[in-house]
């Protein structure tokens, strides 16, 4: 069932839905996992050149071979890749270019890691998406010798989006 991203967010109690513009073009991106087809429609603005290098990176990561890290790792799972793309597009729609991650790398074991930095706020976050959608993070705040690290395993996607939003807004 297709529904607008805004409706999905409201239905799931996400209070960031008010950030979305009233009208913008929609393009349906079918998820690769059949079980996810009943979820939400991802809105992608008309071809956005700024996203091209990001999707090029996703493509390169998705084409990694078995043992890409020379220590036996499998390549990132489609589930993790899909989740990472959706998070990326969610924030690009809401926050624009400043929400594009600083880095996107594969994780040993089939996950994806995305990193955001905000120099003005002196805050960074590394978000890990496991092959089966387990979310974890490392947040680094305050520059220099007094950096503070906060990390947590197995958090909700909602909490992850809140943390990312704190960096990119």
């Amino acid at each position: 069932m297709q529904e607008s991203l805004e409706t999905y967010l409201l239905r799931n109690g996400n209070n960031l839905s008010f950030l979305f513009p009233i009208v913008f073009p929609q393009i349906y991106i079918p998820p690769t996992q059949p079980a996810m087809r009943s979820e939400y429609t991802v809105y992608v603005p008309h071809y956005e050149p700024k996203l091209a290098p990001v999707f090029k990176r996703f493509e390169a990561i998705s084409n990694l071979p078995q043992n890409w890290d020379s220590y036996g790792s499998e390549p990132p799972s489609k589930t993790a890749l899909d989740a990472a793309r959706k998070i990326l597009l969610y924030f690009f729609n809401a926050r624009g270019e400043q929400s594009i991650p600083y880095n996107i790398v594969p994780l040993s074991g089939g996950g994806i890691q995305m990193e955001w930095k905000n120099k003005d706020k002196a805050i960074e976050i590394e978000v890990e998406i496991g092959p089966n959608l387990a979310f974890s993070y490392l947040q680094i705040s305050s520059p220099g010798a007094n950096r503070e690290f906060e990390e947590k395993d197995d958090v909700s996607e909602y909490e992850i989006r809140q943390l990312i939003d704190n960096v990119v807004r």
Partner: protein, 140 residues
């Protein structure tokens, strides 16, 4: 894995430890090492495999990989993981006498710090292009 304890050597703080780094996967856009290089199955690797530099060469470490052209070598002094209260121990294997382990890594913070201290011994010849142009990026 079984270790040959008869050939086990003491690792000094000044000894270099080599870690294989995938060109596609283990670097930041500015050519530095990413923290994922020290993670296993999405979590901090509790026993990070490295090679003791003085018992091997960069080429030999590279050739441990199936595709050496996709790999670079990063080096960190043994004293640094010890400063993070991690154990560094020689763990020779029949196929790799220089094999060693950085044991006890349990935090992403350590992964990040290890990555920051790891020096790439040769700049990747095909660094992953940055996602954003440097001047427009809001990060450091």
């Amino acid at each position: 894995m079984s270790s040959d304890s008869h050939n086990t050597q003491e690792i000094q703080d000044s000894d270099l430890l080599y870690r294989r780094l995938a060109i596609i996967g283990h670097f930041t856009p500015d050519g530095k090492v990413s923290s994922n290089a020290f993670k296993l199955n999405g979590k901090p690797d509790p026993a990070i495999s490295v090679d003791l530099g003085r018992l091997t060469t960069q080429e030999k470490s590279l050739n441990q990989a199936k595709n050496p052209s996709a790999i670079k070598i990063g080096a960190v002094k043994a004293g640094f993981p010890r400063s993070l209260h991690l154990e560094v121990a020689h763990d020779p294997q029949p196929e790799n006498p220089s094999h060693s382990l950085i044991k006890g890594n349990k935090t992403r913070e350590n992964c990040r710090l290890l990555a920051e201290q790891t020096e790439v011994l040769a700049t990747p010849t095909q660094p992953f292009p940055p996602i954003l142009k440097k001047e427009s990026h809001s990060g450091s």
